[in-house]
């Protein structure tokens, strides 16, 4: 250890070179590097050690700091991703700012990728020299502590949203549950039974829905959408837009006398809940178990909105409650939350896109959701599976993979269709004793109890034909096919083409991201995958968090999945949101950028370039300002600024130039 300080320098740099066992020492001459480092300007101490990251190793650094008054540390060892926090911790314990450290990667970048010892050692020396020059410019920095608002916003009131909301509310925190439809329940509310247990969907869902509706810690806003999201983790300001029901929710008691009394004696408009298979009136309750139990008015159907001359029997019958308000307008609420859980779900593939399956052309071709409604006791046909003319089908064909596993439509497998196709096969057989044919490519039954469910179906006499269906036609080729819908597929297991005449065709449509997923993601500042599903931070190890801190995703909006997985993810997301809230504050690394306002020309180039919308323009000074809490330290603005008025902590221009000069200088 020699003292080669430059004159008038207050800097005292300590350089520590690690052997990492033989990981580094095997290819690099560690001793030579240590000796070399000792001769560099301002290096007060240079040591080598077998395992720097170990307790004794760290103790070495700490002792030197107090003994020699070191104020800059360089550690030449493994990747910073491995041990930067470790060494920073050592500096902190020794009483100096942790950001006065620079690590040099002589393992992944040198010993692991080179074989020639001489050359590797020379490279390592260059890197150490560069680091020593750089670290002189390091400044002390502080991590930022931001307080977390414990409130949580859950967007979407399907099973995932409901489960997440209940979990968080039960822990004592406040939840805002915002749902776009007039009732919560999501797609699960449409189902009759759920696989593989054949539990009645409504029976298991409605208690949870009711719990949400009556929970003191949940503010339930239905028929509402998130309009604006601003802020950052722990401090989100959200504007929610309420669409007008034309009913005063606080006053409506859900007696439905208004629906009874409506001047339209019968429904005339497609009932959305029954997939258009029945009709509703302009004033309606979405479905019997709707939560909240409040009616709403469809302004495109109601006479009062068109002519203003309706008798308004609904108002009459509502009487003193006076819950109907034709003049209601949309209104906004502003809330503050610490985290957001997105549970916006999925939509089904539009079967009209597969022209050859005849949906919309042949009347007895149905989608799976439509058949779910037919099967359901509170559906359009009272639970009777009937064709459009009211008769029962005697032969039913269920076509798997509609829209899925196809590079012409959606490449992915929608995960749930095989199971729900089996479920429908079972239910149809049970209710109608019809012959049922399932046309599949692969039978995907991976979950708990799923293969056993398939076994059960195999006992029930359902026909399974392995072959992707080419077309559904009403053009008979044989007298036995007259008046039927014929399904043409190759029975690949048998090896020939078959034509199977059926009365009813059920299309097992796949799952897709919601139509406005890309708009919603922009609203929330998260990403979508190539196919349009919301992007998780890591597909295996972080499936419910996103790259935006404080925004979590759960359920089918992240990718097609069944109810158990939706609930599991919802619980996981709730846990993460609660962890955030209970931590009370979050620490942010100081790798942020800041604007040197004196030289900022106000050109606003950085504003649009920031991928995290972290920069705003201050009108008073006509300069840009970086919100250091939202800033992720990507460096794009610093690189873009034409006047070099943006600097980034830890990556300032001066620091980078010193490092480069250090690399290029000759020893």
């Amino acid at each position: 250890m020699s003292d080669t300080r430059t004159p008038n320098s207050a800097l005292k740099i300590g350089v520590y070179v690690c052997h990492c066992g033989s990981n580094i020492a095997g290819t690099v001459d560690v001793h030579a590097i240590t000796e070399y480092a000792a001769c560099l300007p301002d290096v007060a101490v240079a040591r080598e050690y077998k395992y720097m990251c170990s307790d004794p190793g760290q103790e070495l650094i700490r002792q030197d700091i107090s003994a020699h008054g070191l104020n800059r540390i360089v550690v030449a060892s493994c990747s910073p991703l491995m041990h930067e926090p470790t060494f920073r911790g050592a500096l902190l314990k020794a009483g100096i700012n942790p950001y006065l450290l620079q690590m040099v990667n002589i393992r992944e970048h040198v010993s692991w990728v080179h074989t020639n010892k001489l050359e590797a050692t020379a490279k390592a020396k260059d890197l150490v020299r560069a680091a020593v020059r750089r670290v002189r410019l390091h400044k002390p920095l502080e991590k930022r502590k931001v307080a977390i608002n414990p409130n949580v916003l859950v967007v979407g009131g399907g099973i995932a949203g409901i489960h997440a909301a209940l979990n968080i509310a039960n822990s004592g925190k406040h939840v805002y549950l915002v749902e776009r439809q007039p009732t919560i329940g999501g797609h699960m509310a449409y189902f009759d039974k759920t696989f593989p247990t054949l539990d009645c969907a409504a029976c298991i869902l409605t208690p949870k829905m009711t719990a949400v509706g009556s929970h003191p810690n949940i503010t339930l806003w239905t028929y509402a959408e998130v309009a604006v999201v601003e802020g950052y983790v722990g401090n989100y300001k959200v504007k929610v837009r309420h669409k007008p029901r034309y009913i005063l929710e606080e006053l409506c008691i859900g007696c439905q006398e208004c629906v009874e009394a409506c001047v339209y004696k019968e429904g005339r408009w497609a009932d959305e809940f029954n997939m258009g298979l029945s009709k509703r009136k302009p004033i309606y309750l979405p479905f019997p178990q709707a939560v909240p139990q409040k009616v709403l008015i469809d302004p495109d159907a109601c006479i009062e909105f068109k002519s203003h001359k309706c008798k308004k029997t609904c108002v009459e019958v509502c009487g003193e409650r006076r819950a109907i308000d034709f003049n209601q307008k949309q209104w906004f609420d502003e809330i503050e939350v610490g985290s957001i859980i997105v549970c916006t779900g999925f939509k089904t593939f539009d079967a009209r896109r597969n022209v050859y399956y005849g949906y919309g052309r042949h009347k007895n071709v149905y989608t799976a959701l439509e058949v779910e409604r037919l099967i359901n006791a509170s559906g359009p046909s009272g639970g009777n599976i009937v064709l459009r003319d009211g008769t029962q089908p005697r032969m039913v064909g269920i076509i798997h993979c509609v829209g899925s596993r196809d590079h012409n439509t959606n490449r992915w497998c929608s995960k749930v269709c095989c199971m729900y196709s089996l479920k429908l096969a079972h239910l149809i057989r049970e209710r109608t004793s019809a012959e049922v044919y399932n046309f599949y490519i692969d039978m995907r039954t991976p979950g708990k109890g799923y293969e056993e469910f398939y076994d059960r179906l195999l006992d029930e006499g359902v026909h399974f034909v392995r072959g992707r269906v080419a077309e559904v036609t009403d053009w008979p080729a044989h007298p036995s096919e007259e008046g039927k819908l014929i399904i043409r597929a190759e029975d690949t297991l048998a090896g020939f083409v078959r034509r199977i005449p059926v009365d009813m065709v059920v299309l097992s449509v796949g799952l897709e991201p919601q139509a406005d997923a890309r708009d919603v993601r922009r609203l929330l500042n998260i990403s979508c995958s190539e196919e349009g599903w919301f992007l998780e931070r890591h597909p295996k190890l972080a499936p419910v968090s996103t790259f935006t801190d404080g925004v979590f995703i759960a359920g089918a909006c992240q990718g097609p999945k069944d109810i158990p997985d939706c609930v599991a993810q919802a619980g996981a997301a709730a846990a993460e949101a609660m962890a955030l809230a209970d931590a009370k504050y979050v620490e942010l690394e100081p790798y942020t950028a800041h604007v040197l306002e004196e030289s900022c020309s106000g050109c606003k180039t950085c504003l649009t370039i920031c991928p995290y919308s972290a920069i705003s323009f201050i009108q008073e000074t006509k300069t840009a300002r970086v919100n250091e809490v939202v800033c992720k330290g990507c460096g794009t603005c610093a690189a873009t600024c034409p006047s070099a008025s943006i600097q980034q902590n830890v990556f300032e221009d001066g620091e980078i130039f010193e490092e480069v000069e250090g690399l290029l200088a000759y020893a």
């Binding site: 050859y356 596993r405 196809d406 590079h407 012409n408 490519i441 692969d442 392995r466 072959g467 992707r468 269906v469 080419a470 077309e471 043409r488 597929a489 190759e490 029975d491 690949t492 090896g495 020939f496 083409v497």
Partner: protein, 196 residues
């Protein structure tokens, strides 16, 4: 009861054939074939095929050359492209059928006097000779090659075509036939080069 013992040994496979099919234009995705059967189901001629298009795809990529080139399938294909358009994996089945047909013709994998390869051969001869096809003459040549008896069956139709002026005997030809010959010769030469 005529018993036949069928087990396929790996030594009987033709890996070069399998490689060849994947390298054919349109065959790049053949490894992705899930055997879903949509090609067979959308094929209007699959009803007559001994091996459905789906089966043929699998046999081809596994290298079972004998079965593939002696199948009826490749001759029944009318290249209507229904399979290629519908295939969920983007495998251009039609292009592979063309390749198999061409290979079967080159390697004489067909019964004697079979009309389809004879038609293809006569067609190519006429192009080499004249650059254009005179339909009437082509049809006559194919009949000569495959069975004069069929000509009798054709006579009624032939007369109708004659009467309506749709059977013309005047030779359709290209004036610069040397270009056609030169073109085809150069193609053959370049391919020889590439094969080396």
């Amino acid at each position: 009861m005529e018993l036949k013992r069928i087990v396929k040994f790996e030594a009987e496979r033709d890996p070069a054939f399998a490689r060849w099919i994947t390298q054919n234009p349109g065959g790049e995705r053949i490894r992705h074939c899930l055997q879903c059967g949509l090609c067979s189901a959308s094929c209007p001629l699959s009803l007559w095929m001994d091996y459905t298009p789906r089966r043929l795809m699998h046999l081809s990529r596994e290298g079972f050359k004998e079965e593939v080139l002696s199948s009826y399938t490749i001759w029944l294909c009318t290249s209507c492209y229904a399979c290629a358009v519908e295939c969920p994996k983007g495998i251009k089945v039609t292009d592979l059928m063309y390749a198999l047909k061409a290979r079967a013709i080159q390697e004489h994998f067909y019964p004697k006097r079979f009309a389809i390869p004879e038609l293809a051969r006569e067609f190519s001869r006429m192009i080499l000779g004249w650059g254009r096809i005179t339909e009437s003459r082509l049809v006559m040549r194919v009949f000569f090659k495959t069975g004069l008896m069929r000509l009798i069956g054709f006579s009624y139709l032939g007369l109708r075509l004659l009467r309506t002026g749709r059977m013309r005997w005047a030779r359709e030809k290209v004036s610069r036939q040397t270009e056609i010959i030169g073109l085809l010769q150069d193609v053959a030469a370049t391919r020889k080069e590439l094969a080396r």
